[in-house]
Amino acid sequence: MFEGYSLGDLASIFVMQGFAGLILFSVFVLMALGLAIIFGQMGVINMAHGEFMILGAYVTWMCSQIFQNYIPALFPIYFFVAMALAFVASGALGMLVEWALIRHLYKRPLDTLLATWGLSLILQQVYRSVFGPREVGVDLPSWMMGSLQLTDTIEVQINGLFVMSLTVVITVVVAFLMFRSGWGRQVRAVVQNRVMAGAVGIDTEKVDRLTFGIGCGIAGVAGSAFTMIGSTGPTAGQLYIVDTFLVVVFGGAQSLLGTILSAFTISQAQSTMEFFLSGSIAKVLTLLGVVGILMLRPQGLFVLKIRR
């Protein structure tokens, strides 16, 4: 397929292709970080993760409508407000769900899968009733559209850059929270030994609720960011769920670093294959590869060997 192209053309395509891979990587990380916290740290199989993302997307859409109609002067920066609100909304819903549902099921992880699947059906129907069955289009401020011309032939998408920076920020914040803050210590303590953590005075219920809330909040931010590149509709959340779980599981559920590495591996594989093969085949091969490797290394790619 490369006959008849100049070396420069090819080089710039490869640069842009690398950039496409990085965008996909950012998307995967955003999708998976919240789940890595909820599934990896708490062991809850949250099948409604996609619906929490879509809640964030709908919040963003509502913000765009409100800003456009009432305070158009501030429209260029509405997206930041929207992301904050998306975090709050999804996080609050997450904490409510934890209180009403999840906390009764910590001893039965497989049952959280069924219960949250039920939750996802309910949320989908609620979205459909409230926002209508059709997809909503989220308007972006003009500065977020289009692309930056780096050289004559190389251009990079502004929203791609935005998603990437957002990913970096969120990842850093999460890493800081997990490994430097009191909450992070408590979460790790609870994960390692719930009973002991309780015995030394950690309010495990509160930690659980907060953790679940933060995980869902991150999903909300991800959903908010995805309005730039994907669709917002009642069932759009389902598009993400299998990919998201595979990223987390592939990385080794307990490890945040693993999640990021696995997002990188899968995104690069998929984006490279998509370039050389057709979309469907690339997807099938990526999934097959992930499943195959998981069979060889069930504990995930990037997990330390520990004594059972």
Partner: protein
Amino acid sequence: MSVFSKERYGFLARSEILGLLALAALIVVVVPLSLDIFRLNLVGKYLTYAFVAIGLVLCWGFGGILSLGQGIFFGLGGYCMAMFLKLEASSVENTKIQSTPGIPDFMDWNQLTSLPWFWQPFKSLPLTLIAVVAVPAVFAFVIGTAMFKRRVGGVYFAIITQAVAAILTILIIGQQGFTGGINGITDLRTLLGWDIRTDHAKYVLYFVNAALLMGVLVLGYFVRASKLGRILVAMRDKEDRVRFSGYSVASFKTFVFCLAAALAAVGGAMFTLQVGFMSPSFVGIVPSIEMVIYTAVGGRLSLIGAVYGTLLVNAAKTALSESFPQLWLLGLGGLFIAVVLAFPNGLAGIWGAWIAPWFARLTKSGSHGSAVANGSPAE
């Protein structure tokens, strides 16, 4: 020792025999007498899902292996049957307007000029019947062996089966020349010249299906009552202990997974026969999870409960979606949550905790052997 001979006939306890007879009376006598052929055909369709649910009781309820990919096997079984029926419906005479007569219409539309090799065996009914069970079982064996030998279990297994279902769906939809794509294999007409679309045929198929289902239930009880059944429960409980009692845990898991797959496939084949087509929408993740909920509603430890659970959920689905389509998803979602939170043992649990004791008091039979449905422990 005396306890074991009491109330047991072969591998069935008396309560189990009564339960089977009651179910048989319901689906073979009561339902056909009280429903018209349209509704009866619907019930027949629901009962094909019950095969999957029974498999899931064995695999998930007893064995603790949650598969979110049973749709794969239901679909494979159904596709095998559909391939046979499609070939029969695509006789040279029926397809003479095609550029290549004698091959299924969708192949012709996709420029195939001859039948692909893997379709060849489906010209023969015996080979098809073998394939209906063997293809899904072999597929399950491959997945199972690979995963269980590597000790992939629990959540990981569930997620991987889900991914496999996703892969298979994409493949079936994408390879439309070989599979009929998203439309599936449609317009099936006759089985060895016997028109399966007539009311008469629907009746016959319904009873064949019901008989098979009862057979599968008895098989389930046999497995449950055998030492293998107890090993499954033991494995769910303390996998390591079983291993250190000298059993190859992976082999047992693979076996029960294959068995569940084969049962699902039988259901799929009966589905194709009764509904008249098969489509990739059964292979995917959503139907697979729905099938798990049938099992959960019936009670994950109760073989017979799986049948009632399937019937109940589907009847509710049909009734609700006829009158309040918007409410259906809310209802189904609520059902998932309610079953998990409030009734982890489903209908069988409700039966065992409330109805059966009340029944026992009423009849003063004094037999509390039937108190716990199916004689299985509650978790």
